[in-house]
């Protein structure tokens, strides 16, 4: 993986630097040409400004007057005034304005034959040698402005080039060109801007290249290229030269096409060595940067991967632990479930297996009781046994019910149950039973107080509570059954005046097979309250011991009230 990434990166870098190389070369060429174009633009502007300025000069009435009114002696003095601001002040040279009019270094007038009119005081108009002055002359006066270049100075080393512009002076009287004004000024020397700072440019004039600071070999190559350019008779030429293994860009352009002065050419040379060195450096920089990036990438990815994998590893360990724990829990659950199932099954089986013998037993006892020759003592004994079978059946029924509840098979079919009716029915039953204690039963259940539940089981809850209240009462005691609706719930309280349940027993009274301290004396099997509470909970309510003191023990069942619609529909008319 690492090798693939490294390989891809290296390939990418190789193409990047190759691309950079070619882009750089193109950029250099473009920069070179753009710089030249900018230079030419500046020159054009300068030339245009100069020509405009000079045209205004040659239209000056005094110059015309001197030429036309035969006052040549006044020509230079007049021009001195007019050209004062264009001439470079020798004592105090001013820098040229690039876009403005440059300062002239000399000027001369040409007469009608194109010969130089000698100035009376050369110091005022720029001193020129005889040879230089002769170069200004033209065979005939030009009709338009002419651009030329003047080589000044004798030796090749000191020689400089002045740009000259010859402007025709047209007589306002004859409309003919009667003279010309030749102005010379230093050629524009603008440091090229942009990336081509090592470009040099010069002038080729009369077989002589004015380009100081050029090595001999380059000069020879440029001369050769120049001759090729001249032979091809092109307007401009751009070429590449290899000199001593170095690449040079060169550019040639004729500067004064159609001029009456000798042709001059601009020669620009741009050695690419520096640029190539820079490019070389750039290549190494790219490679170096790539390598560093790659290294950093490796390290970073390694670190990140490590950081990312840590939680995964932890997760793996955790999940292993979890699985073990879950397995344990599942096993425990399964065993619990099995246990529950087994106990439930046992309970159910036991109930079923018990019910049949009890029925057989009762039938046998009833048959014995039906015999005529039965002694009274025997009859009483058998009656007691018969009664016990009923108790046994009740216990078995309760156990069956509980086991069904434990198995989750008991489903309450919710409907509206009129609690007052249920209470009435049970009180009727209660009155039918023998009442050895002479209990005083009072009810206070509002008519139509309905709960949500199944009548059969709601009735069973009440039955258990009432039986408890009766069983644990004292002689001549009271039972009070009351119902009320409060805070969105229906409460039914069953109170009796039996002895108090000791506080230490109170938490256990709802447990299965738990009985009161004096329970031994009282009939019952200890699952009544547990059953009632389970049923109350199945109804979405609760059964609680509200209070138990010496005088009064009270249980309270909370039910959900009947839903209004069903309550209304099922309420008897």
């Amino acid at each position: 993986m690492m090798l693939v990434v490294a390989g891809l990166t290296a390939t990418g870098l190789y193409f990047a630097q190759r691309n950079a190389t070619s882009t750089l070369q193109q950029d250099l060429l473009r920069d070179f040409q753009a710089d030249l174009a900018a230079l030419h633009k500046v020159e054009e502007l300068r030339y245009a400004a100069l020509a405009e300025r000079c045209r205004a000069l040659v239209a000056k009435p005094r110059i015309h007057a001197a030429l036309e009114d035969n006052a040549l002696d006044l020509l230079y003095p007049s021009a001195r005034d007019e050209l004062r601001d264009i001439m470079q002040d020798r004592a105090n040279p001013q820098p040229d304005q690039i876009s403005g009019v440059p300062h002239a270094s000399f000027y001369r007038f040409l007469d009608h034959a194109g010969k130089v009119l000698p100035p009376p005081n050369p110091a005022e108009v720029g001193v020129l040698s005889t040879d230089e002055e002769a170069q200004l002359a033209l065979k005939e006066l030009p009709q338009t402005a002419q651009v030329g270049y003047l080589r000044r100075g004798a030796g090749a080393a000191e020689a400089t080039i002045d740009e000259i512009i010859a402007l025709p002076i047209t007589s306002t009287e004859t409309g003919e060109v009667i003279a010309a004004l030749v102005i010379g000024f230093k050629p524009l020397e603008v440091a090229p801007k942009g990336g081509v700072e090592d470009m040099v440019s010069g002038i080729w004039l009369n077989g002589w290249l004015h380009l100081p600071g050029l090595s001999e070999s380059v000069r020879a190559a440029v001369d050769q290229e120049m001759n090729r350019f001249l032979a091809a008779n092109e307007v401009e030429r751009s070429s590449r030269m290899y000199i001593d293994g170095d690449l040079y860009l060169s550019f040639f352009k004729k500067l004064n096409s159609g001029s009456a002065y000798p042709a001059v050419y601009e020669v620009a040379v741009h050695p690419l060595r520096i640029a190539l060195t820079r490019q070389h450096r750039l290549r190494w920089q790219i490679l170096g940067a790539g390598a560093v990036l790659l290294l950093i990438g490796f390290i970073a990815s390694h670190l990140i991967a490590k950081r990312l994998s840590a939680p995964v590893a932890k997760l793996a360990v955790d999940s292993e632990e979890n699985r073990a724990r879950r397995k344990r829990v599942e096993a425990a659950l399964a065993s619990k479930h099995e246990e529950l199932q087994r106990s439930t099954r046992f309970s159910a089986d036991a109930s079923h297996q018990l019910k049949t013998p009890v029925t057989v037993l009762r039938a046998g006892i009833e048959e014995l009781l039906g015999r005529e020759n039965l002694e009274p003592a025997m009859y009483d004994e058998l009656s007691a046994l018969h009664h016990q079978t009923y108790r046994l059946t009740g216990v078995i029924d309760d156990l069956l019910l509980l086991s069904r509840m434990d198995a989750g098979r008991l489903k309450i079919e919710f409907g509206s149950v009129d609690l007052s009716q249920v209470v009435e029915e049970w009180l009727d039953d209660l009155n039918a039973l023998p009442d050895p204690l002479g209990l005083d039963v009072k009810t206070h259940v509002p008519a139509g107080l309905s709960i949500s539940g199944e009548r059969r089981y709601a009735s069973l809850i009440l039955q258990n509570l009432l039986e408890n209240a009766r069983k644990y009462n004292r002689s001549g005691g009271r039972i009070h059954v009351a119902g009320r609706e409060e805070n969105g719930s229906v409460y039914l309280t069953v109170g009796n005046s039996g002895p108090a349940i000791p506080p230490e027993m109170q938490p256990y009274i709802f447990e299965r097979f738990s009985r009161g301290a004096n329970g031994e004396k009282i009939a019952g099997h200890g699952i009544g309250l547990n059953l009632a509470r389970e049923l109350a909970r199945l109804h979405g309510g609760e059964l609680n011991l509200v209070s138990s003191n010496n005088e009064w023990t009270e249980f309270e069942v909370r039910f959900r009230p009947a839903e209004q619609s069903t309550a209304n529909s099922r309420r008897p008319a």
């Binding site: 239209a59 000056k60 009435p61 005094r62 015309h64 007057a65 001197a66 036309e68 009114d69 035969n70 006052a71 006044l74 007589s171 306002t172 009287e173 004859t174 003919e176």
Partner: protein
């Protein structure tokens, strides 16, 4: 003062000045160069050049009697005004020694009248309209003086400085008349443009009017 009134003025001047002498006259017509320009209604004359030759447009000629005449004690001052960027009159013949004023009659334009002519070089410098004293020059050498303005390069004016007091400007059809001339043998000359001056020998007799036509 327009050219016609000047002309009339000059004629009257010529007629009355040498009043004490025996008088002769000469009249005739100068054949003026043909002009293609439309007749000038406003009678404004300007100096034009054609082939390097200065003349007025429409063409006018100056006819003068060449000879040796006694110098007058005083000469009237003449004027060449600048108005609407033109010299008025465009062509002024004067006798040598005449003082000529150059009033600027523009509304708010400066002028700088100068001349590089061999007959008279001068430069009045810049001056405002109604400059006081009015810039002037005295013309001591005979010859043609070209007036220019350094500010308005197209402006041209001509002053023809003559050694004679007897001269007249023709009307635009070329007719002229010189009166009050001394009797004798003279040369009558007609200046037509800066390069063309025609001449004609003439014998003037007292009390008679000679007739000379310049072809």
């Amino acid at each position: 003062m327009n050219v016609r009134s000047l002309f009339v003025f000059l004629c009257v001047l010529g007629a009355h000045a040498p009043i004490a002498r025996a008088q002769a006259s000469v009249e005739g017509r100068v054949e003026l160069p043909k002009t293609t320009s439309a007749p000038v209604v406003a009678k404004r004359y300007e100096v034009v050049t054609y082939g390097g030759v200065l003349s007025t447009s429409p063409p006018l000629a100056v006819v003068y009697l060449e000879g040796s005449f006694p110098k007058p004690a005083s000469l009237p001052t003449k004027q060449v005004a600048q108005k609407d960027l033109m010299f008025v009159p465009a062509l002024l013949p004067i006798q040598v020694g005449t003082k000529v004023e150059f009033p600027n009659q523009e509304k708010d334009t400066y002028h700088n009248i100068f001349s590089y002519s061999p007959a008279k070089r001068f430069d009045l410098g810049r001056y405002r309209p109604d400059e006081k004293p009015v810039p002037f020059q005295i013309f001591d050498v005979a010859g043609l003086v070209t007036l220019r303005c350094d500010i308005h390069e197209h402006m041209r004016g001509l002053i023809l400085v003559l050694a004679t007091p007897h001269f007249a400007v023709t009307d635009d059809s070329g007719h002229f008349k010189l009166t009050g001339l001394p009797a004798g043998h003279y040369t009558l000359k007609a200046w037509i443009d800066s390069r063309t001056t025609r001449e004609h020998p003439i014998d003037l007799k007292s009390g008679s009017t000679a007739h000379v036509d310049f072809p």
